[in-house]
């Protein structure tokens, strides 16, 4: 059916492909090995210079001073890599040296786009964005914020993480917009938690944003940054938001806030919300808030149709204080499912106590 010549050509082509693939692996191993060895040697030579920089020397002194171009590059790389590992004066010293070396400007240039197009390759853009974040340089916030709209999701993620490092509150709206554009909510949440002071106004406004992810991020950050001023907004979100995972996040946030004034909203969610995840978060939060009212509300959870909620309510009762613990002991005598979970929770607590 097929001419033997064609098959022979195909075989030759495959032979070439095999040789190229094999050569790629071998070359990579050889080159990579050589590069790694050279870099390790240079890094070892430059490490004393780095220590001098960390100690606050304006520039490396004496015999450690890098003279060749390659050595300076390695020292810059080393300094950049050490930024997340040092704090205070040492951090400032490294940032100051990188600035005088023009490394931060170069990084900003790599992140920058010309006519809307990023010129530098992806991994360089990512590294530059990361450096700007680790440097925590407020003057470069605009460049990092711009990277939030980079065409690569990987760079967007690095930019969000970087903004958390810069800690400039003015970047909050851009971060929330990034969450709406698809940057993972968890990354944006961690970045927003890094901002100081917490952008409470922006976050409260974001609880009314049209995008559900933005609302959930806002709820989460408000709770974990202990923004008590937002208790009312979060309670309303638990009661009225149409999206279950937003309600669940808001319920969890109220627990983080230790918001006693929100016990009513959480009790309502535990009793009436049709979604199990929301009821579970409400139970956990009631346990965190604690007190007699919370314990009374949690009793409803012990009769929930879902075993997960019964278990969460039992655990929450134990953690809610004397009233909850007493109620749990009462339930432990029962033969039904709530009794079984009460006994489980009490037994595990006794074991923990014995270990202590």
């Amino acid at each position: 059916v097929i001419e033997p010549t064609f098959v022979a050509n195909a075989l030759a082509l495959l032979g070439v492909a095999l040789a190229v693939t094999l050569a790629a692996a071998v070359m990579h191993k050889v080159l990579r090995g050589g590069l790694d060895t050279r870099r390790a040697r240079l890094q070892a030579r430059m490490r004393p210079a780095l220590l001098e920089l960390v100690d606050g020397e304006a520039r490396p002194q004496r015999r450690f001073r890098p003279t060749r171009r390659g050595e300076r590059r390695v020292l810059r790389r080393l300094a950049a890599e050490h930024l997340p590992k040092v704090k205070g004066d040492a951090h400032e010293a490294l940032v100051a040296w990188l600035r005088t070396e023009g490394e931060l400007d170069r990084a900003a240039g790599r992140v920058e786009r010309r006519h809307g197009v990023a010129i530098a390759p992806l991994h360089r853009r990512a590294r530059a964005t990361h450096l700007l974040g680790e440097a925590g340089d407020a003057t470069q916030v605009a460049a990092v914020v711009a990277a939030l709209t980079d065409r690569s999701r990987a760079v967007q993620v690095v930019a969000a993480r970087a903004l958390g490092g810069v800690r400039d509150t003015s970047s909050a709206p851009a971060l929330l917009a990034a969450a709406a554009a698809g940057v993972p909510a968890s990354v944006v949440t961690r970045a927003l938690l890094g901002l100081a002071p917490a952008p409470v106004g922006d976050l409260r406004a974001a609880l009314r944003a049209p995008d559900a992810t933005v609302r959930s991020v806002a709820a989460d950050v408000l709770g974990r940054s202990a923004s008590r001023a937002a208790t009312g907004d979060l309670a309303r979100t638990v009661e009225r938001d149409p999206i279950p995972f937003v309600r669940a996040r808001a319920a969890a946030a109220l627990g983080w806030l230790d918001a006693t004034s929100a016990v009513g909203s959480l009790a309502g969610a535990l009793q009436r919300d049709p979604i199990a995840a929301v009821r579970k978060e409400a139970a956990i939060s009631l346990g965190r808030i604690g007190g007699a009212d919370a314990a009374h509300a949690l009793e409803a959870g012990l009769h929930d149709e879902q075993s997960d909620i019964v278990q969460a309510a039992a655990e929450a009762l134990l953690g809610s204080g004397p009233a909850g613990a007493a109620l749990l002991h009462q339930y432990a005598a029962r033969a039904d499912r709530s009794g079984a979970y009460a006994r489980e929770v009490l037994a595990l607590a006794a074991l923990t106590k014995a270990q202590a």
Partner: protein, 472 residues
């Protein structure tokens, strides 16, 4: 005579067309995997994959370990799991009616005590649960002792039933996870909690590697060729197959040796099917079916970077049994979900992925066998030219070798677990060697699995455990 020649020609054409389509699919998978490997590798440094470690709101993970007669490895395995880096997790060992000292080893090592843990009964199970124990030292360990129901899936279902965290990871009792494995495999759930339903990680053979305290200290090529070839098979399956299908949105296999799922969705569909031999593949296909029918927006993800090291069969006999079972399992999955085949309601899973598995993964061995028979018949009838057949066979072998060498190259360019020249060299040689003898034997085992399926017969031979000894 002319009729026979015409038939042989038709087989020839069909065989060539089949090979062309299959090789085109492989080419697409190689291309996708190559780009993905480089992209993943480069973005990993700054992606903050391990940020989850410091996140108090990270979802908890229940690690379920079904164990049957695993006394040689179980303590080291549990110690290694308990040492994983993750903010919140528990280890649930389900002792599936072991007749050796599996439970006793655990009791001695962790000082297990009885605890009135509730079995909610949310997932149907067959074997009765006898007792549940917790670690006296406060380690997040639960050990369930249950009656053996002669089905691994039943043990995993019991683990799923008593799991308390929102994510469940299933691992084999002899599995060794890398310290950051949980952080990396949970990352897609953290990033996209509403849509991601399941995540699979890479599994690689540990045979021959240097192991220290339940961790692979230095990955090395095994000593026997049968194990070395399996290393190549695993690289090809995970670095090319799974990565490629995952990017195409068609991941239907998440290994039971290392797969993480959302617990609520698993409970909703009743967990694993204990009647199915390929229960891990069946679970993922059933999840696809359930979620498509419900109209959910969902994702399955494969992440190549976290690695789970596991023992692979060191002998031909055990390997043959294993592959027959896999073939039988695939028949079961495709038969059970035949309504999905070619059905546009199930999107690319129904129209592309399952037909691919039917035509190429399941029937591939039969086609290879038919091809060989046609060649012999052609020679006997004097219609096949030796040179032509030899060239064609060489093309097939070279393509097979190219796929394997590509997977070794991707490993070297991106993940670089094997650092010694010797191991890379062995990988290349094994890529060539497997095409002569092993590949044909493998096809034969798969055909026998198909025959088993028609007789509804299954056999199971346990992979012998050597224990996690240093420098094995």
């Amino acid at each position: 005579m002319t009729v026979v020649v015409d038939v042989l020609r038709s087989i020839d054409v069909a065989f060539l067309a089949y090979a062309a389509v299959l090789n085109a699919v492989y080419l697409v998978l190689i291309t996708i995997a190559s780009f993905d490997a480089v992209r993943q590798r480069r973005s990993l440094t700054y992606a903050g994959d391990v940020d989850v470690f410091g996140d108090e709101a990270a979802p908890g993970v229940s690690i379920v370990v079904p164990a049957w007669n695993e006394e040689a490895v179980i303590v080291d395995s549990v110690r290694s799991l308990l040492a994983l880096r993750y903010p919140k997790f528990e280890v649930i060992v389900v002792d599936d009616g072991s007749t050796d000292g599996t439970y006793e080893r655990l009791r001695e090592a962790f000082g297990l005590v009885d605890a009135p843990i509730v079995v909610p009964g949310n997932v149907p199970v067959i074997g009765q649960v006898h007792s549940i124990h917790v670690a006296a030292d406060g380690a997040p360990l639960r050990v369930v002792r249950k009656e053996n129901a002669r089905r691994r899936a039943d043990a995993t279902n019991v683990g799923l039933d008593i799991a308390r965290h929102p994510l469940v990871l299933f691992v084999d009792a002899d599995a060794m996870l890398e310290p950051d494995a949980l952080l990396r495999v949970a990352r897609p759930f953290v990033d996209d909690p509403e849509r991601v339903v399941g995540v699979g990680g890479s599994v690689r053979p540990v045979n021959g590697s240097r192991v220290e305290r339940g961790h692979v200290d230095q990955p090395r090529a095994p000593k026997r060729w049968i194990e070395r070839i399996q290393v190549i098979e695993y690289l090809r399956a995970f670095l090319l197959g799974r990565v490629g299908w995952s990017r195409l949105g068609g991941l239907v296999v998440i290994s039971g040796a290392f797969g993480m799922f959302r617990r609520d969705v698993l409970v909703e569909i009743g967990g694993f099917d204990p009647e199915c031999i390929g229960e891990d593949a069946e679970l993922v296909v059933r999840l696809h079916r359930h979620l498509r029918e419900r109209g959910s927006d969902y994702r399955f993800v494969f992440v190549a970077e976290p690695v789970c090291w596991t023992e692979v069969p060191p002998t031909r006999r055990v390997l043959a049994h294993q592959r027959r079972r896999w073939s039988l399992g695939l028949v079961e999955v495709l038969w059970k979900h035949r309504a999905m085949l070619g059905n546009p309601r199930y999107g690319r899973i129904g129209l592309l992925v399952l037909p691919y598995f039917l035509v190429f993964e399941l029937l591939g061995a039969v086609v290879e066998l038919l091809g060989a028979i046609a060649i012999v018949a052609g020679f006997l009838l004097g219609v096949a030219q030796v040179k032509y057949v030899a060239l064609l066979a060489l093309v097939m072998l070279a393509y097979g070798a190219l796929l394997s060498i590509a997977s070794v190259t991707i490993e070297e360019l991106s993940y670089r677990r094997y650092t010694r020249w010797r191991d890379i060299g062995i990988g290349f040689v094994a890529s060539l060697v497997e095409n002569v003898g092993y590949r044909q034997a493998h096809s034969w085992w798969r055909v026998r699995g198909l025959v088993d399926a028609t007789r509804r017969r299954s056999t199971w031979v346990k992979v012998p455990r050597t224990g996690f000894t240093a420098g094995r």
